[in-house]
């Protein structure tokens, strides 16, 4: 039977030098005159809001409101507060400036200000929204999550101690603005972890069950950009082109995985993040080679292809075809070693000093119930997951 797939990405990508200066035009072209910025204290303190505000002011566009207190793990209360501010200030568009938390928060705020009410939990789940929301723009300040092109958001409901997922294509922004100025000051260990997050998005998109020709194109392009730029940026953080390559790779990997889903690396990462509060990108970096080894026999062909994008045509051509999948895993391990050398990015759970060995069982149980495991090419049992965790422990 021929393969079936779906692919959807209506987000306009505005990328490159002076990309931020396109924002006023984008806003005025949809008749927005009172946009609101949603961001966090870190972005504010790093001065990353200044070029956004200046770009708008120079075009006589006033930012009607700024909310800059989005926490790392946002909640329904924060969403309600921001929605109230939006209504009080009679705003007409949202601009998220930040990483995954600010972007997810702004997506949830957009639900409330578009649909009405104070309880965003009422819109939790898949396909609950049935009409377009208010104009929404995203300016990422990290290069890893790909949230600017994904149709999901996760917000904590502290009263009920649950994480609420929201899934709808209406959550997608009108445009994602990728400007190298926004990631230039990103600390090196975050640059490394978020790039490994993007590399994992691309690798899982390319090797898991939902892979398709269009997501493959985005995934391989993302892998190529990351392998070409990451170590250059680690050695020279002011490398503007390298920063832009990483940011674009993150967006491309986001487009890839939101159309093909991810697998066991993410299932393990979600479980570890929830139980041990380890940053998501770091979890991805730790688990990626171990899961690829576990899936190896089912993914030899796509893994062989990835060697070309990771190591270039010369290495690919000189590596015997039968050894290319293993060489791909070795290349990823080598990249992790280089990152460890440059910024001490942990390669094992033990090296994080935040996970204890007696938590591995809990992580395994939680990972087995994670939705991402469904798309993994192998049917991972508890024993399988336990064995991977033991290897990743170090």
């Amino acid at each position: 039977m021929s393969r079936y797939y779906e692919f959807y990405c209506p987000v306009k990508v505005i990328s490159g030098d002076a990309a931020l200066e396109h924002l006023p035009y984008e806003l005025t072209s949809i008749a927005s005159t009172r946009p609101m910025i949603v961001t966090d204290q870190g972005v504010r303190a790093a001065g990353l809001l200044d070029p956004v505000i200046t770009a708008c002011e120079e075009s006589n566009l006033v930012i009607a409101a700024i909310y800059d207190e989005v926490p790392a793990d946002s909640s329904t209360t924060v969403v309600r507060d921001i929605a109230n501010l939006y209504r009080q200030q009679e705003c007409d568009a949202l601009i998220a400036v930040g990483g995954g938390s600010s972007i997810d928060t702004a997506k949830a705020v957009n639900i409330l200000v578009s649909e009405g009410g104070d309880d965003v939990a009422a819109y939790s789940g898949a396909g609950v929204l049935s009409r377009p929301l208010k104009p929404f723009f995203v300016i990422p300040t990290t290069a890893g999550t790909g949230s600017e092109v994904t149709s999901v958001a996760v917000i904590a409901d502290r009263e009920r101690s649950v994480k609420l997922p929201f899934t709808s294509s209406f959550l997608l922004p009108n445009a994602a603005i990728i400007d190298p100025r926004m990631t230039r000051t990103l600390p090196l260990h975050i640059t490394a972890a978020t790039a490994m997050d993007a590399l994992t998005h691309a690798t899982e998109a390319y090797t898991c069950l939902g892979k398709n020709p269009l997501s493959d194109a985005y995934a391989t392009a993302a892998v190529k950009k990351i392998s070409g730029a990451l170590l250059k940026v680690m050695d020279n953080p002011d490398d503007g082109q390298g920063r832009l390559d990483l940011a674009e790779a993150s967006t491309m990997a986001g487009i890839a995985f939101s159309n093909s889903m991810v697998g066991l690396v993410h299932a393990l990462g979600h479980a570890t993040g929830a139980l041990c509060h380890l940053p998501h990108g770091l979890c991805m970096s730790i688990y990626l080679p171990f899961v690829l080894e576990y899936n190896l026999e089912q993914i030899r062909e796509p893994l062989s292809d990835l060697l070309l994008y990771l190591e270039g045509p010369q290495v690919w051509a000189t590596t015997p075809a039968s050894r290319r999948p293993e060489a791909t895993i070795s290349a990823i391990r080598h990249l992790r070693d280089e990152l460890h050398h440059r910024c001490e990015l942990p390669r094992t759970l033990r090296e994080t000093n935040k996970v204890t060995e007696d938590q591995l069982d809990q992580i395994a149980h939680k990972a087995l119930d994670d939705g991402a495991i469904m798309f993994n090419p192998r049917e991972a049992s508890f024993k399988d997951v336990e064995a991977i965790l033991k290897k990743a422990w170090g």
């Binding site: 079936y4 779906e6 789940g125 994670d370 798309f375």
Partner: protein, 186 residues
């Protein structure tokens, strides 16, 4: 005209097949949850009173089961009660037929966007594992390998055959009971 009639008959047959397979699966889930330790272990962690529905948009057919506690699943028939906790909905009868005729694995159907999940994703993953275990036990290995992502390496004939016989016996009894109810409604 003849072509139109035969096409219509084929579509009716496909709908009946899906309907019957849902009925078989419903009774089989009820049966396997009485005896299979792996299914019991998985189902035991579902909330008591948890209602699971597998259906085809826009208006069925469906299968509905309830977790009545201690890992036991009870087949409720094809009509869901007012509150369903987890619903897996095929977008079209053709997609349900692909999965239920073992032309497409359940995991592939998810990856191919054939189905929508309404409810807790973690519980959907758990229910999928239960369905996979059921298929591995009741189907011949060759067919089961087409239905599940990976045929369980530890499932030997000594476990599979008695398990399958027991399930088919209970399914047959259940189906006869359903038929009797249909013929002589009380």
């Amino acid at each position: 005209m003849l072509r139109k009639l035969s096409r219509s008959a084929a579509l009716t047959a496909r709908r009946r097949y899906v309907q019957t397979m849902f009925q078989v699966m419903g009774h089989a889930l009820d049966a396997i949850s009485r005896t299979d330790k792996k299914v019991l272990d998985e189902a035991r962690l579902l909330p008591v009173g948890f209602v699971f529905e597998m259906t085809v948009l826009p208006a069925g057919p469906s299968l509905v089961v309830e977790h009545v506690g201690e890992g036991r699943l009870r087949y409720l028939g094809s009509s869901p009660p007012a509150n369903v906790d987890l619903s897996i909905r095929f977008k079209h009868i053709a997609h349900a037929f692909l999965v239920l005729s073992f032309q497409e694995k359940t995991a592939e159907a998810f990856a191919n966007d054939r189905m929508l999940v309404d409810g807790d994703i973690g519980l959907a993953v758990r229910m999928t594992r239960i369905l996979n275990r059921l298929e591995a036990i009741i189907l011949p290995r060759l067919v089961a390998s087409r239905a599940v992502k990976e045929y369980p390496a530890d499932l030997g004939l000594f476990e599979k055959v008695p398990g399958a016989i027991n399930i088919y016996r209970r399914v047959a009894t259940g189906m006869i009971r359903d038929l009797t109810k249909e013929v002589s409604p009380t």
